[in-house]
C-alpha cells in the first residue's frame, strides 16, 4: 500500500449478521446489515471520529477493524497489511499496535482481578507467548508508571475494580490499552458512561496521551460535542453507511448531508439564548431496521429533501472537495457545490 502516512485503511467493509429462525433446524431468515460498505482511512497522529445514533454500525465497524468481528466483505489494512490474511499468530503480534478502550468500565474489567494485574495482563500474556521479553520486575515497574501516567496512584494496584469510581475504572481501561505501546487506539464510546465532570477529566487525559505518545485514534461516540472537541476529522454514519466526512470544523460549520444537519440541530445546546432562537430540524420517525431489504438512499424515509431519484438509487460517498465527502444526490453535480 502506497501512502506511508496512512495507518489504517478500511475498504468497503461489510458486516452482516444472520437472523436465524427455528430452534432445531435453524434457517436463515435474512440479514442484519450492521455495516454495509464502509470505507475510510486514518492518518498517523490524527483522530477520526465515527458518529451516529445507536444501531448505525459504528461500534461494529470498530470491532471489525480490530478483527474481533468477522467481516462479511471488505478489507482492513493496518500499516499497509491486510489483517484478514494474517495467521492468528501474526494477528496477535499485529494487535500490539492497535488496542481498544471500551465504553463501559463496569463490565469490561474482570471484577476478580486487581487493578495492577488488569493493567499488567497484556504484558504478561505477550511475555508468556515470548512475543516480547520483559521481566516480571519490569512489568511491575511499567504497570506503576502506566497507573501514574493515567492519573491513578500506583498504591491502588491491589484494589479490585468495584473499589474504584467510574472515572477511575476508565483510567484502568486506558492504562491497560496502553500497556503494549499501541500506535492506534480504538476508543468505543470511552466517556459516554461517565458524568460530565468526570468526562472532561478523561477527555483531557486522552488528549494529553495522544500528544505525548503520538497516538492515533479511531474515536466512536454518539455525543457530537465530544467528538467535535476530540477529533480532527469526523465520519457520520447512518444505517451502516458513512454519509458524510469532513474535518471537524467544516462539518460543524457547513454540514451538507441532510442527516448531519438534522443531527447537529438536534443536539441540545447548553446556551439558553441561542437555544431559544435557533431553528431546529426535527426528523420524523425512527431509523429503519437494518434487516429490511431496501433500495435507494438509507436516509430517504426521514429526509426533508428527499427526491424521486433517492428512492431508486443509492448515493455514493463522493468528493465535494478534497476534505469533504458526502453521499447525497443534492450535491451530485460538481457545479452545484454550495
Amino acid at each position: 500500500m502506497g501512502n506511508p502516512d496512512i495507518l489504517l485503511d478500511v475498504k468497503d467493509l461489510k458486516v452482516h449478521f444472520p437472523i436465524e429462525k427455528g430452534i432445531l433446524l435453524k434457517k436463515n431468515a435474512g440479514w442484519i446489515r450492521a455495516v454495509d460498505g464502509v470505507s475510510f482511512s486514518v492518518r498517523k497522529g490524527e483522530s477520526l471520529g465515527l458518529v451516529g445514533e445507536s444501531g448505525c454500525g459504528k461500534s461494529t465497524t470498530a470491532m471489525a477493524v480490530a478483527q474481533l468481528e468477522a467481516a462479511t466483505a471488505g478489507k482492513v489494512f493496518f500499516e499497509g497489511r491486510d489483517l484478514s490474511l494474517l495467521s492468528s499468530e501474526e494477528l496477535r503480534r499485529a494487535r500490539m499496535n492497535f488496542q481498544i478502550v471500551f465504553q463501559d468500565p463496569y463490565s469490561s474489567l474482570n471484577p476478580r482481578m486487581r487493578a495492577g494485574d488488569l493493567i499488567a495482563e497484556p504484558l504478561r500474556i505477550y511475555a508468556g507467548k515470548k512475543i516480547i521479553s520483559i521481566s516480571e520486575n519490569d512489568i511491575q515497574k511499567k504497570t506503576a508508571s502506566l497507573m501514574d501516567r493515567c492519573g491513578l496512584s500506583p498504591s491502588f494496584a491491589d484494589r479490585y475494580p468495584h473499589e474504584f469510581s467510574g472515572g477511575q475504572r476508565q483510567r484502568i481501561g486506558i492504562a491497560r490499552a496502553l500497556s503494549l505501546g499501541p500506535k492506534l487506539i480504538l476508543a468505543d464510546e470511552p466517556v459516554s458512561a461517565l458524568d460530565v465532570s468526570i468526562q472532561s477529566q478523561i477527555l483531557n487525559l486522552l488528549k494529553d496521551l495522544q500528544q505525548e505518545l503520538d497516538l492515533t485514534f479511531l474515536f466512536i461516540a454518539h455525543d457530537l460535542a465530544v467528538v467535535e472537541y476530540f477529533c480532527s476529522r469526523i465520519a457520520v454514519m447512518y444505517l451502516g453507511q458513512i454519509v458524510e466526512t469532513a474535518d471537524s470544523q467544516t462539518l460543524y460549520q457547513q454540514p451538507m448531508h441532510p442527516y448531519t444537519r438534522a443531527l447537529l440541530s438536534a443536539v441540545p445546546l447548553p446556551d439558553p439564548k441561542s437555544a431559544r432562537t435557533r431553528k431546529r430540524i426535527i426528523l420524523k420517525g425512527d431509523v429503519p431496521s437494518p434487516s429490511a431489504v431496501r433500495s435507494g438512499c438509507p436516509f430517504m424515509e426521514r429526509c426533508p429533501d428527499v427526491m424521486e431519484r433517492c428512492r431508486v438509487e443509492a448515493p455514493v460517498l463522493s468528493d465535494l472537495n478534497e476534505k469533504h465527502q458526502v453521499a447525497c444526490f443534492l450535491y451530485d453535480s460538481p457545479s452545484k457545490q454550495i
Binding site: 445514533e53 465532570s197 477527555l203 460543524y252 447537529l264 443536539v267 446556551d271 439564548k273 425512527d286 431509523v287
Partner: protein, 332 residues
C-alpha cells in the same frame, strides 16, 4: 414572579439503610414549583435528583428507603402524610411522572392502549370503550403513526422513542397539574430526543402543565427550563433562572460543571476545564461543605460549617449555598 405556587417542598430528607451505613440521598431540600413553569433539577449521578422526585410522590421503597423529614404541599395538603389510598388518587391524576427507561416501566405483557387507558378508567371512571377511544386519540396527539392499529401492539413492538411517547401519553392522559419527567430522553438518540422534548414542550405549554425536569444534561436544561436547581450530594447548591445559571453561575460546582462540557465550535486545542476528584460518598459526607474536597476556592470556614443557602440580591429564587457569597447576601 408572583405566579402561584403549585407544589411546595420543604426540608425534604430521604435516606437509605445499607449494609455499610445510612445513605443521605436527599438532605434538606426545599423548592417551589410555580404554575406553568418548567423547573430543571440538574446534577450528576447520585446527587439525589431522582430520589427527591420519587419522594414527592412517596415512591421511595421502604425498606431500605425512608423519608425522614420535610413536607410536600400540594393544594395545601402534605403529600407525605397522605395514606396510600389518598396518594393514589393524586398520582397519575394530579401529579404524573415520566420515567427514564420506557422499556422497563411499561408492562411487557399488556397492550399499549390498555396501559394508557388504565389511568383514565381508574381516575375518570371511563368505560372500556371510551378509554380506548381516548387512548387512541392520545397516541395520535403524540405522533404515533397508524394509532388505531398500533394501539393493539405490545411495548416490545415499539421503538424506544415510541415507547417514551407512550409514557408521555399515559402521564398526560388525565391532564395533570404537575408532570415530573425523570431523565425522559437519556436513553434516546439525539434526533429522537429532539422529537420527545418538542412534544413535552408543546403539550406542557398548551395545557399550562407545570413540569419538573430531572436531567444531567445541561443542554436539555437550556432548551427546556425556565428555572433550575443544581443539586450536589443531596443538596441544592444553587437555584436560578435558566439565564442566570448559564450566564452568571455563582456556585463553584455550577461553574465547574458548565465549563467542563465540551461545546460545539469550541477550540479543540483548549483543554477542557475539569472538576478534580469525584463526588463524595453519601454515607460518609465530609464535614462542612460537601463540595469542599473538590473546590478550588475552599476556605477555612468551608471545612467547619456547611453553608446555608444565601439569597443573592434579596431574591428568594436566586440562591447559592456557598460561603463565598455570604457577603452578597447580607448586602442584599
Amino acid at each position: 414572579m408572583s405566579k402561584e405556587i403549585i407544589l411546595h417542598i420543604e426540608g425534604l430528607r430521604t435516606e437509605f439503610q445499607t449494609e455499610r451505613g445510612v445513605v443521605q440521598a436527599v438532605n434538606d431540600v426545599s423548592f417551589d414549583l410555580h404554575q406553568g413553569e418548567t423547573l430543571g433539577i440538574v446534577g450528576e449521578s447520585g446527587c439525589g435528583k431522582s430520589v427527591t422526585n420519587f419522594s414527592i410522590l412517596k415512591l421511595v421503597q421502604y425498606p431500605p428507603g425512608r423519608i425522614t423529614d420535610g413536607q410536600v404541599l400540594y393544594n395545601e395538603k402534605n403529600l407525605l402524610e397522605c395514606s396510600d389510598e389518598e396518594i393514589r388518587t393524586i398520582r397519575g391524576k394530579h401529579i404524573a411522572m415520566i420515567f427514564q427507561d420506557p422499556l422497563t416501566s411499561l408492562n411487557p405483557v399488556i397492550k399499549v392502549w390498555v396501559q394508557i387507558a388504565e389511568a383514565l378508567r381508574l381516575h375518570q371512571g371511563m368505560s372500556k370503550k371510551e378509554a380506548k377511544a381516548k387512548a387512541i386519540e392520545l397516541l395520535k396527539l403524540i405522533g404515533i403513526p397508524d394509532a388505531e392499529q398500533r394501539a393493539d401492539n405490545y411495548p416490545h413492538q415499539f421503538s424506544g422513542g415510541m415507547r417514551q411517547r407512550v409514557m408521555i401519553a399515559m402521564a398526560l392522559s388525565c391532564n395533570p397539574d404537575v408532570l415530573i419527567a425523570d431523565e425522559p430522553t437519556t436513553a434516546l438518540d439525539v434526533t429522537i430526543q429532539a422529537q420527545i422534548l418538542e412534544i413535552i414542550k408543546n403539550l406542557s405549554h398548551g395545557r399550562k402543565t407545570s413540569v419538573i425536569m430531572i436531567t444531567h444534561d445541561l443542554g436539555v436544561v437550556a432548551e427546556m427550563c425556565d428555572a433550575v436547581c443544581v443539586m450536589y450530594a443531596g443538596r441544592i447548591v444553587e437555584r436560578a433562572s435558566v439565564d442566570e445559571l448559564f450566564y452568571d453561575p455563582k456556585h463553584p460546582y455550577s461553574i465547574g460543571l458548565l465549563n467542563s462540557i465540551p461545546r460545539i465550535n469550541q477550540d479543540s486545542d483548549e483543554r477542557l476545564h475539569s472538576i478534580s476528584g469525584a463526588p463524595p460518598d453519601l454515607i460518609d459526607l465530609p464535614h462542612g461543605c460537601p463540595f469542599r474536597p473538590r473546590c478550588t476556592q475552599a476556605m477555612d470556614i468551608c471545612a467547619q460549617k456547611s453553608p446555608p443557602e444565601f439569597s443573592i440580591g434579596g431574591n428568594e429564587l436566586r440562591t447559592v449555598a456557598c460561603w463565598l457569597h455570604e457577603k452578597e447576601h447580607s448586602h442584599g
